[in-house]
């Protein structure tokens, strides 16, 4: 398993990414409190500069509240396409250091540099190189955590971050290292909530055991923990509390695929809401599949918990599909196996294994016949999709869509990049 060989893992997180990109493009705003998002009547703050944070503005805060706390702030609409463009340059820099890059979002990634130490120097030096290159080549700052696993690297990053204070931002160290023999003094004083997987419900159970810090968890007998929160979660938490985490850095060597994802302004715990989002994303994926004249073989679901733990699942149904309902049904099935009570931050739906849609040959199903009372279900879906595509060509994406997406007279269809900061953000 390679568990014993010590790995060198970096966690790189851009500092106030969206805001920093805006400052890059609008240097005249430097030093002023800047807020991205929160402009619409129900808009929510997507990011705040350190100056704005000093006034108590933070992401996911309602725009109205942010304006009250910091009336002098400059409020900007988000420009998703621009952030993606900058992100691609940053990720390229990571990729030039090691092929083992696992992006977590536009502004965050894990890098496994174990194999690069000989060529590039110790991991903290590599971290410093990355910071310097990102600054020189893109003009942005980032913070880097260095450790022997992903869990500790990510925690370390937090301690390297700049902090907002009433007298202005205080720069962080930029690079924070957790040495293998210094895990306990680093980890154990942290509040237990710092561990991945400790959401509100787990927290309540732990509190009953008298747990306050990570160290408290580590000192608990593992069976007390598994009795309280179940064998899988208990064992996993106990391992994390001892700083053990052997998950590999998994580079996205994505096959040719089409996907969409949504980051929520506020973590979602309502499964119904997530299922509705799945319908929305699946509809958008299917739309693109049909426009490209392809069908997908494998359906993927990606879910990021409020703890940033990201899980992905995939299913390969017997037949390739370009139907949004079909994709949504599979994605929803995968979601049903995932606990959402601790809050979901991001959800994504995709398909891979794309192939040209050819002459249609379809294995019919005994059970559809039973359910629908007729064997023509698939053909009907195809006719329906063709009609939907034509209507959207003429009247736009929001002209028609799955009924579950209807909201006060319009269809809340997925428009890439437009949803997170708009007035719909708190839907």
């Amino acid at each position: 398993m390679g568990m014993n060989a010590s790995r060198r893992i970096l966690h790189v997180d851009m500092d106030a990414f969206f805001v920093s990109v805006e400052l890059l493009d609008h240097p005249e705003l430097r030093g002023r409190p800047v807020v991205v998002g929160g402009s619409g009547p129900r808009g929510v703050v997507a990011a705040a500069s350190y100056e704005a944070r000093a006034f108590g503005v933070h992401s996911a805060m309602a725009g109205a509240v942010a304006r009250r706390k910091c009336p002098q702030a400059v409020f900007l609409d988000g420009r998703h396409a621009r952030y993606r463009e900058v992100s691609a340059v940053v990720m390229d820099i990571f990729g030039s250091i090691t092929p083992l890059v696992e992006p977590l979002s536009l502004d965050e990634a894990f890098l496994d540099v174990s194999g690069r130490v000989r060529a590039l120097g110790p991991a903290p030096e590599i971290a410093a190189t990355i910071r310097a290159r990102v600054f020189d080549e893109v003009g942005l700052t980032c913070s880097v955590g260095v450790a022997h696993n992903k869990f500790l690297a990510k925690l370390a990053t937090e301690t390297a971050k700049p902090r907002a204070t009433p007298t202005g931002p205080v720069f962080g160290s930029g690079v924070a290292v957790v040495d293998e023999d210094r895990v306990e003094p680093f980890l154990w004083p942290l509040p237990a909530r710092a561990l991945w997987g400790v959401g509100p419900s787990t927290w309540a159970k732990l509190e009953r055991l008298g747990v306050a810090t990570v160290g408290d968890i580590a000192r608990l007998p593992v069976d007390a923990l598994t009795r309280a929160i179940g064998p899988a979660a208990g064992t996993q938490l106990h391992r994390l509390a001892r700083g053990l985490d052997d998950r590999p850095v998994e580079p996205n060597v994505a096959p040719k695929s089409i996907s969409h994802e949504e980051t929520f302004a506020v973590d979602i715990t309502d499964r119904g809401r997530l299922e509705r989002e799945i319908v929305r994303l699946s509809d958008a994926v299917a739309d693109r599949l049909r426009r490209a004249g392809t069908t997908g073989r494998t359906v993927h679901l990606k879910v990021r918990h409020s703890t940033f733990q990201t899980v992905t699942r995939s299913i390969t149904p017997p037949h390739p599909t370009d139907d949004g309902l079909d994709i949504a049904v599979h994605a929803r099935t995968m979601l049903s196996g995932i606990e959402v009570a601790d809050g979901i931050r991001l959800i994504g739906v995709g398909v891979s294994g794309l192939e040209e849609a050819g002459a249609r040959v379809e294995q019919m199903s005994l059970l559809d016949m039973e359910a629908a009372g007729r064997p023509d279900h698939d053909r009907d879906r195809r006719d329906l999709n063709r009609a939907v595509d034509e209507i959207r060509d003429r009247f736009g994406r929001s002209a028609i869509g799955p009924a579950v997406l209807a909201e006060s007279g319009r269809i809340d269809a997925f428009e890439d990049g437009a949803q997170q900061w708009g007035p719909n953000a708190q839907r």
Binding site: R239, T316, Q363
Partner: protein, 364 residues
Amino acid sequence: MKFRCERDVLVDGLSTATRAVSSRGGALPVLSGLRVHLEGDQLRLTGSDLDLTITVDLTVAGDTDGEVVIPAKLAVDIVKALEPGAVLFETEGDEAKISGGRSEFSVNLIPAEEFPQLTAPSAESATIDAAEFADGLRQVVSAASNDDSRPILTGVLLAPEGTGLRLVSTDSYRLAVRDLPGATLLREGQTVLVPSRALNEVVRALGTAEKLSVVLDEREASFRVDGVRLTTRLIDGAFPNYRGLIPQSQPNRLVIGRGPLIDAVRRVKLMAREATPVRLTMREGSVELVAITQDIGQAHEELDAHYSGAELTVAFNPEFLLTGLEVTPGDEVSLETVDSLKPALLRSTESADFLYLLMPVRVS
């Protein structure tokens, strides 16, 4: 812990228990291991992925009792690779020493306290004829789905039928139903849905055994044969109403030798590439099989057969058709159809204990 055991006996035991060990790793690293428990001369090997648990009891020459968890796949590979003869297994601190002939391995152990406590279901056990049960399972497990997105279809339904037991599975494209008259396993009205993956392992473990002992409770099923016990979680949920799918009368009936049809489907299938179907055209006195794959080529074969009904062409997934023919007993089969879009019913002309219902492929 310390014991001595014949290599072949140990390899068998380790391999069997390892079959429950998930190759995907999963949330609990300890589940990539096997628990090895020795008490006196009784060695118990346990592998589990929390859904399926396989326990193997072996008699060995025990020296010192103990309990450890060893990496499963590695242990199998090591013991398998040793020279034939006695294998010595001995633990020292957090290592296990495995030696045989002049080879010696030391393997880092996995902390045993993390291994889940697994309990066997505690209901009354029933005994069933092993050969007949294995035969029935083999016929139905291949029609179960392996698509985890529809968990219910990955199971085999065990239900009472008359005075016997009925096994049912469907992946929604085909349905297999086998009756075992006289086999009693269930309470009246009791039905259970057992993961087909576990039943595959049961078939494998049955070998030439005569009797199989089965314990069923609300959540788990446990199968015990010789020194091997398989415990599996049951699937929760309602199995589709399969009775409504089985047609009562079909206007068209093809009767044909099973062996010749299997051979013909295998040949023609070579040209059914990229999910294209095999087409069967049935008419008085014959059936014609055709497979055409664009840009690759085609295959064609005609067989003599008895056919009553209107001339009809139906397309099938060749794999599904072949599986059905292979698990249907007897030398002669009947294929009953309505039209090219309705399910076809495949049965032996000699026995009413088994049926296989197959949905056609539509070509448009």
